[in-house]
């Protein structure tokens, strides 16, 4: 969700004492949040302009609940905010030390499972994983790095996939299936062996029906799916998250049409 929408929501989200009586609410860190039937905690929070850290969630797609970074505590039970329906009068903890520590651990595991080398990555400064890690005050990887051996698929003329940076959020899977109707991406394997695969005879993106204008090319929250022959074109200091944190700026996908983000 882009910054101006979050800001607008934040302003409109201020509770009106007259209408509040007719609306269902829950408390997010002590603050009353309105919701409608069918809303998840994430839906209601975003509409109210409140930020809950997330990676696999994109309001345009069916909630997935796989990255677990949006974990919140609802009445002493830890759930993912993007899949948990809002419950009237419930107390939702979005920022306690315990919740933030759990998010940091989840982010640390994401960092060590792949090869997320921020200093050399062209997505650095405009990467949602990096921005969320900063927001959650993740200062180191903590766990032993797996350093998996993964390759780059640059077979497509316009788009490259760096599997080193894939966090298995399935946003490209959902976009290709639900919007592009091409089913180009899927997750294969189980557990720690899960990995992104491409639906083509060779398994290469260049042999698939993928095009750079596909929705799937513009939803990746990390530096896994990238336009070719360009990078680092935005100077340091002017990148998406250089000036304000992800809680203000919002998701990278909302800026994807501006390819230089």
């Amino acid at each position: 969700m882009p910054a101006h929408i979050l800001e607008q929501n934040r302003e409109q989200g201020t509770m009106n004492p007259v209408t509040m009586k007719d609306k269902k609410t829950f408390k997010l860190d002590g603050k009353a949040i309105e919701f409608e039937d069918g809303d998840t905690i994430m839906d209601a929070a975003l509409r109210a302009g409140e930020y809950i850290p997330h990676l696999c969630h994109n309001p345009e797609f069916t909630p997935h609940g796989s990255c677990r970074v949006c974990i919140v505590n609802v009445d002493c039970k830890q759930v993912s905010a993007c899949t948990q329906p809002a419950i009237e009068n419930s107390e939702v903890d979005n920022s306690s030390d315990e919740i933030m520590a759990n998010r940091r651990a989840l982010l640390q595991m994401l960092f060590v499972e792949g090869n997320h080398i921020c200093p050399g990555c062209e997505k650095s400064g405009a990467c949602q994983l990096q921005a969320v890690a900063y927001y959650c005050n993740m200062l180191s990887s903590h766990f032993t790095h797996f350093f998996p051996q993964r390759s780059v698929d640059a077979s497509h003329p316009d788009t490259a996939i760096d599997f080193n940076r894939c966090i298995l959020c399935e946003l490209c899977v959902r976009a290709s299936r639900d919007v592009d109707h091409k089913n180009i991406f899927a997750i294969d394997g189980r557990g720690i062996n899960s990995h992104l695969v491409i639906n083509s005879s060779s398994g290469k993106l260049g042999d698939s029906a993928f095009t750079a204008s596909d929705k799937a090319a513009h939803v990746c929250p990390v530096g896994a799916i990238l336009p070719k022959h360009k990078g680092y074109e935005k100077p340091i200091g002017e990148r998406l998250y250089d000036k304000q944190p992800v809680s203000i700026v919002g998701d990278v996908a909302a800026y994807e049409q501006d390819e230089d983000c």
């Binding site: 200093p119 050399g120 062209e122 390759s151 780059v152 640059a154 077979s155 490259a160 760096d162 260049g206 070719k228 022959h229 360009k230 990078g231 680092y232 074109e233 935005k234 100077p235 340091i236 200091g237």
Partner: protein, 496 residues
């Protein structure tokens, strides 16, 4: 061009003295000396004990990452690797000519870097030896001693470096490991506010640079003959020069001259560097030994860096530095100046040239232009060469049709000086250490010789995946009990 002390014939009977780590240089290295019972030096070697693997692990990466990835080789002169990789990727994207803004921003970045690197090396690392003497007490012979005894000199060194770092920050985005240069150009120019900010102090920087040259000339003149003779070796010299023979650290052609100043090759196209330069390996060092192919491995080694650049160029394009170059060249009496310590003198002339050039560029309207990138038809070979603060730096990349790097070859500045540094420490060992009980002040003379080259040891290492290895088992009487040898092929044999 002696290599007599490279390998002793019977090393097992000699006393081994190790200088480890070599201090006040970038990276980690060590020197080993083997001395016989009569205290004669029988072997002297500079070893590089670090390992890098950039040529290997950038294989499989997209080419447009190269300027940002490869600069991580170093934290002192990353701009050199950043710019030379950018030059190589310019070739890959078919950018035959950069826009004036891109070319000048890159040059400005490079001048800023060379200024800060030279200031760091002279003031922080080497001035203690030169101001206090090579045999000064260790506790005093360091930058803190300089701050205490010569606070004005120390301050100038710190602020000169700071200014260079600011130039880098404004052109590359960060003081260390920025992203300014991209394939085909740059990602930013300077705003008028940024130009004004740098202009504010540039006259002071030029004045301090003039003082720095005066300081090294005063130090040299105090013991002129000693400084001209210390660690001096006759060598070939290699550098880039402009198409008109001008001093140029960003772009040009290759020029090599022999120890007498005679031309070996001139205006050689650097994209054909491998027709002129070959790289040798020795089993005792991670660092390669490049040489000029036309002369051969034994005598074809050469020196690069400030000494080679000042000796090789026909003129310097800024007036104050040109005046100093003429005075410097007079010291050679018509031949190249070969003194290792003259590296410091040449380096500070370059510092002055950088300061003058930064002022010239800041007054050029092109550095605030908006035309930043040029691209043409993709190529699969990209070669860049630049004069890094420490010398000529080669980057060579091959990519496949998808834009993925398949091969890389980096010949780093310090690698070019490998044989020369070894020869210089052998000269010092023969002249000053031979026959003596070795003490710290004597051993420091070895390190002073190495420091003159301003080596960056971390950038310069290479290793094959299957390193040869020998393991010896000795009993309490030092008698050899067992020995295993692992060969480069990976096979292991017992050799006792």
């Amino acid at each position: 061009m002696s290599t007599d002390l490279e390998t002793a014939s019977n090393p097992e009977n000699l006393e081994r003295i190790v200088i480890e780590p070599v201090t006040r240089v970038e990276g980690h290295g060590k020197v080993t000396l083997l001395q016989d019972k009569n205290k004669h030096i029988r072997q002297a070697r500079l070893h590089i004990v670090e390992f890098r693997g950039f040529e290997k692990f950038i294989q499989g990466r997209p080419y447009w990452e190269l300027p940002v990835l490869v600069q991580r080789l170093c934290g002192i002169c990353p701009v050199s690797h950043h710019l030379v990789a950018a030059k190589a990727t310019d070739m890959l994207v078919g950018a035959r000519q950069l826009t004036p803004t891109a070319e000048k921003i890159r040059r400005l970045m490079h001048f800023g870097q060379t200024l800060q690197s030279h200031a760091l090396h002279f003031f922080h690392l080497c001035s203690p030896d030169l101001l206090f003497g090579f045999d000064d007490e260790v506790r005093h012979r360091n930058i803190v001693g300089v701050i205490e005894d010569h606070p004005e000199i120390a301050k100038q060194g710190v602020l000169l470096r700071k200014y260079g770092q600011e130039v880098i920050r404004l052109t590359a985005g960060k003081r260390i490991h920025g992203t300014g240069a991209i394939p085909g150009g740059v990602n930013k120019s300077l705003s008028h506010e940024e130009v004004d900010y740098l202009m504010k102090d540039i006259d002071q920087i030029i004045a301090w640079s003039i003082d720095a040259v005066a300081l090294i000339k005063r130090i040299f003149s105090e013991h002129y003959d000693y400084h001209m003779a210390f660690a001096t070796i006759d060598s070939n010299m290699l550098s880039l020069v402009g198409s008109d023979g001008a001093f140029d650290i960003y772009h040009g052609d290759l020029r090599a001259r022999d120890k007498n100043g005679n031309t070996i090759f001139d205006h050689a196209d650097y994209t054909k560097y491998n027709e002129y330069i070959k790289e040798g390996v020795k089993n005792w060092s991670y660092m390669k030994f490049p040489f000029i192919d036309a002369i051969g491995a034994e005598n074809g080694w050469y020196r690069v860096g400030p000494l080679a650049r000042i000796n090789n160029c026909d003129f310097i394009g800024t007036p104050l530095a040109e005046k100093e170059r003429i005075e410097f060249m007079a010291a050679g009496n018509g031949k190249p100046v070969q003194s290792a310590l003259a590296y410091h003198w040449a380096r500070l002339i370059e510092l002055l040239h950088c300061a003058e050039s930064i002022k010239d560029l800041l007054q050029d309207a092109d550095i605030s232009g908006s035309e930043l990138i040029n691209k043409g038809e993709m190529q699969n070979t990209g070669i860049g060469v630049i004069e890094a603060p420490r010398g000529t730096l080669f980057h060579h990349y091959e990519i496949d049709k998808d834009g993925i790097v398949t091969r890389a070859n980096l010949i780093v500045s310090t690698t070019n000086n490998n044989q020369a540094m070894n020869e210089s420490i052998r000269q010092v060992a023969s002249q000053y250490l031979d026959g003596n009980q070795l003490t710290e002040p004597l051993l420091n003379q070895i390190v002073v010789a190495i420091r003159a080259y301003d080596p960056c040891l971390s950038c310069a290492t290479h290793a094959m995946g299957k390193m040869p290895l020998e393991i010896c088992l000795v009993d309490e009487d030092d008698k050899l009990v067992d020995r295993l040898e692992k060969r480069a092929t990976g096979s292991i044999t017992r050799t006792i």
